[in-house]
Symmetry: C2
Subunit: 133 residues, 2 copies
């Protein structure tokens, strides 16, 4: 059951602060690791419950990626897309949008939104790769 968000608690603050300060979408386990520093003893069940409630409240957004865990980001960011690094598995935000997507939408279908993920290697992983040879 999804309980609507009625109170601001230490736990909820730690969770949204973790996502907000990371500046990139985080997985459940990344959220647990980061928010636990602020709130030791924070339970994983609270994270799942909070994420669900915040998504229902349109405060968080889900980012789906092939072959990787789902991530969550703040919903009030400007429209943007994501880069998924196959080296370190981190997800980065990318400015911009290719646009012109309605022309891809099949005849008779209604487009309401879209998501784009580019995958490859981030600068940090490329650096490590060339350092290794």
């Amino acid at each position: 059951m999804i309980t609507p968000v009625r109170r601001q608690t230490r736990q909820r603050h730690a969770i949204t602060a973790a996502i907000s300060q990371a500046g990139r979408p985080l997985s459940v386990h990344e959220i647990l690791a980061i928010a636990s520093k602020d709130q030791p003893g924070l339970g994983i069940a609270t994270i799942y419950r909070t994420i669900k409630a915040l998504i229902a409240a349109h405060t968080l957004h889900e980012v789906a990626l092939p072959g990787a865990d789902v991530r969550f980001e703040l919903a009030d960011l400007d429209h943007h897309h994501h880069f998924h690094c196959r080296g370190c598995d981190k997800v980065y935000e990318m400015a911009g949008c290719p646009g012109n997507l309605r022309s891809l939408t099949p005849k008779g279908f209604l487009m309401e939104g879209h998501d784009l993920v580019i995958s490859g290697l981030c600068a940090s992983c490329l650096g490590k790769r060339s350092a290794r040879g």
Copy 2:
């Protein structure tokens, strides 16, 4: 452990035939439902094992979607993208590609691939909606 694919079995044929004949990416449970008609008694473990092996063999491809189960499709299709219907939860293939994605890729990052999902309502769900009023 992922066992490489060495033999063509009735089960594997039923699984790939289900995906191939559907003409759209299928979830694990869609695959079970469809392939079971051909192969009654087909176990869910076999489906998981087969999917993993076929992905490792680059025969299948994973399609990730926000708020919906992962789907699987044949890997040898022409480059294309997907439409996810929020009404019936079906995933459709869409021809075409917006292109020009390297310009979105951050400086110093290497783009190796990309995925695009448009979401909204399919023609069938739009029809039902207007029929209802």
